[in-house]
Symmetry: C2
Subunit: 501 residues, 2 copies
């Protein structure tokens, strides 16, 4: 191997060590840190992030990447060596194009905007955030200006989380998805909603956590290389490929909260645990994109974890764990409860049928605002109109409308939401590719066995890390581009068994 | 304030952020990290430590320290400003005198020696570690060679943990302490040992932890700025002045293990929690020396936590917490049990009377080896002889003799042990100064009140951080140099009430 490649890896490891340390400091901040630690902790994380950025954008790395061009060309595109150089260069060039002065300004604005939002949302005061949000929009456009030559002004912003996905491709695809979804939602919600009272009984925390842990261990989450803790909001985080942790929150009167967030975060975590260990400490040692990552969480949470076959195996165990609460509840009732579809206001609480309508509304507004066809001052009103059209209900206030999500108030406008719907689409597209390779997967799931599915994902999705962009990975794994049909087929098959569609 | 002082503080904060991050990574390694995280974690901690060292020894800091000389001279010695510059310069000069090449060589040797020791100790194989230990001795002498002009070759090594303490002062002081201690030990051990069976019953873990936490909260340990977790070996660690954590280990069949280690580590932690918050992020924001730190842990563990007055208040509460185990055990039996004195092999298990004999043996051997009057090849034999002379028993093997402690096998020879005995001596000397200022302290302790003692320590010992060296601090606080009499007086008073001395 080229000496300069080794030199590059040494520098990349140093950057990774700083980033992983910052991740641990953040994890501790939400799990175990006493209140008195908060002030210094913020500064410590900022210092580590700044040093990591300084070191990653150093001339030394730039020079090595230049020097490595001939070596890169001598290796095949998919080789580990060429991929490491290619992906590092891509990230390096994206990082050096954004001036440090801008980063400081945008970071300071995000912190200020977040502060305003934390009081404006409970006060239902859109007017209070409007000037902030207008400045955020300016900063978002300025970000894109550092990447001249883009086709759509949102593309550089989308690249930051879903590299290679373009507005020109997403917009028609999502519009078509919306057209197909609306009649499904209408057909389902014409019927009375499922009764989910069985989930709203008291379930002791310790048993809830133990039951979820048992499932994800069987899924393939490796507790020797991870652990689960409790936090206010569930998340997955990584300190090395050998230490990928998840968190959850438990509601004693809502069984679905901890259970499905555990399955969701375990999906993210198995992805990271499954990346080729040889990539440790380099930019290859992470998921391909936000959308691909979300496909893994949604696959294990919904396609597997809310399927009838899965619960044919697990429901008797759940009943045994909670005999008083569920002993007399039939499987069919439970299955309908965990797949209850309803028109609702809050994205994060939405079921898998309506969820994408929440997301696509946001993506469309991001594109419209960036293009200048939607002014920030009209956002709240536009939200209410579109929400009524898509979801059939009108938000009674902005608190649960345009002020709902933290994303625009703690970052930029653009690139924040598309990954959620990409994840849903890809979960079904990848799952159908796995089924084609291993037709036995559904019957294995009915017996609580996940080896064939996990093995196929590990080989095809997990192992390559971020060696390929999402579009490249989808092409390699499914033989074609991203499509909406597998997801629609999945929804129609599942929900036509529950409701006459 | 001088602009350059502000510039210095900014650079020092960055160094501190890296060191505090490394400390959190180490804490996590011993508390919650899954096994799979170990490999990367070692590298991450090493990277942070290296970057912190590089940044602390940078020319930028050296230049600022030079430029700040006039400003420093314009301020009083005890001012925060002059102290920050003085202490930073002292640490800077000590750090830059040691070549990076030496640090790398010594670190690698320490890691290799530790590996050899981990198998040699259980195998009772002193011959296996001898070549390692000879190299360690060479490295220790080489370390001192970077500080030409020392009076004793051990002084630079002692400076690393107990700055300003000199071999020429410690040796006669410790020799005198030994002469005074030997007859006390002989007189006590002429009597049958106390019966400590009452401590060796089953005590459920949760209640043990809750009881210890109640005491240290009352001592003054602030759980809003700290927490307690379980580890294999108890320790105190700090991530900022607002986040000072302790750990303990629980033995279900030995009440004294978790209880007294909790009181001990809380003593260390209250010291750090009490440092002037204005020093946050600088070299002033730490204890004055290893010995002064140990004085705080031993004061709360032994002088307060093993006193009769303390248990006159707390023993009824302990009986209420463990009625089956202790309900029928009189206070006198319990008090004698927690103050049992016996000749024993292991330093870390030794009682407060014999403990210093274990430590002084090690310090004398360190000095002898560094001087060349004791060869490594004769260490094991010398250990057995001195041990028999001081403790009255001969170690049956080297495992519990010269191979006992990890210190020489994971670091240098010199400076590793004196802090333990300094801590014991200073605990009594500081306590008697506190008593002189607040004669009510003993009666407050009998009522479970620690405000006067904690307040005096906070003002006199905690707040200054490392503004003063240990010798300076002792002089300021007690009006004179370090003395052995307060400690001997304390031991004689306490143990003559338990045994006819």
């Amino acid at each position: 191997m080229d000496d300069k490649l080794t030199a590059l890896q040494v520098l990349l490891h140093e950057v990774d060590d700083l980033n992983m340390a910052a991740a641990l400091l953040s994890w501790d901040q939400t799990t175990y840190m006493p209140p008195g630690g908060a002030e210094a902790r913020g500064r410590q994380i900022a210092t580590l992030a700044r040093l990591a950025h300084e070191k990653f954008t150093s001339e030394a790395i730039g020079r090595l990447l230049d020097d490595l061009r001939p070596y890169e060309s001598s290796q095949s595109y998919a080789s580990d060596e060429a991929s490491l150089i290619r992906v590092t260069r891509r990230e390096y060039e994206r990082a050096v194009k954004v001036p440090a002065e801008y980063v400081a300004r945008a970071t300071a604005h995000a912190a200020a905007a977040y502060q305003v939002w934390t009081t404006a949302r409970p006060a239902n005061d859109f007017a209070a955030v409007r000037p902030c949000l207008e400045q955020t929009l300016d900063l978002s456009r300025e970000y894109s200006s550092f990447f001249p030559g883009y086709r759509h002004i949102a593309d550089p912003l989308i690249d930051a989380s879903d590299y290679g996905m373009k507005a020109a491709m997403l917009r028609p695809l999502f519009a078509e998805l919306r057209q197909q979804l609306l009649p499904i939602v209408q057909a389902i919600t014409a019927h009375p909603p499922a009764d989910d009272a069985c989930l709203k009984q008291p379930f002791p925390e310790a048993q809830q956590l133990a039951f979820g842990a048992d499932i994800i261990r069987q899924y393939g989450y490796d507790f020797e290389r991870g652990r689960q803790d409790k936090t206010l909001h569930p998340f997955m985080t990584k300190f090395s490929l050998g230490d990928v942790r998840i968190t959850t929150r438990v509601k004693e009167h809502d069984l679905s909260e901890a259970l499905f967030s555990t399955l969701h975060e375990a999906g993210h975590a198995m992805y990271e645990q499954g990346i080729n260990r040889a990539y440790e400490g380099t930019p290859l040692a992470t998921g391909a994109s936000a959308g691909v990552h979300e496909s893994q969480s949604r696959l294990w949470e919904n396609i597997v974890g809310r399927s009838l076959g899965f619960w044919q195996h697990y429901y008797p165990k759940l009943q045994a764990a909670f005999p008083q609460q569920l002993g007399a509840v039939p499987l069919d009732t439970f299955y309908r409860a965990i797949n209850k579809v309803q028109r609702s206001l809050i994205r994060t609480d939405a079921d898998e049928v309506t969820y994408n309508l929440h997301v696509m509304l946001r993506l469309d507004f991001e594109l419209d605002m960036l293009e200048g066809t939607l002014a920030v001052r009209n956002l709240a009103e536009a939200w209410r109109e579109r929400f009524a059209a898509d979801l059939g209900i009108t938000p009674p206030d902005d608190r649960d409308g345009a002020l709902q999500d933290v994303h625009w108030f703690s970052g930029l406008i653009g690139g924040a939401f598309q990954g959620y719907t990409l994840g849903n689409l890809l979960s079904a597209q990848f799952y159908s590719a796995a089924l084609a390779a291993h037709p036995s997967i559904p019957s294995e799931i009915e017996h609580g066995q996940f080896g064939a599915l996990h093995g196929w994902l590990a080989e095809n999705i997990y192992a390559p890390g971020s060696k390929f962009t999402a579009p490249e990975l989808i092409e390699r794994v499914t033989g074609g581009p991203m499509r909406i049909e597998p997801y629609l087929d999945y929804l129609r098959a599942k929900y036509s068994a529950l409701y006459p569609l």
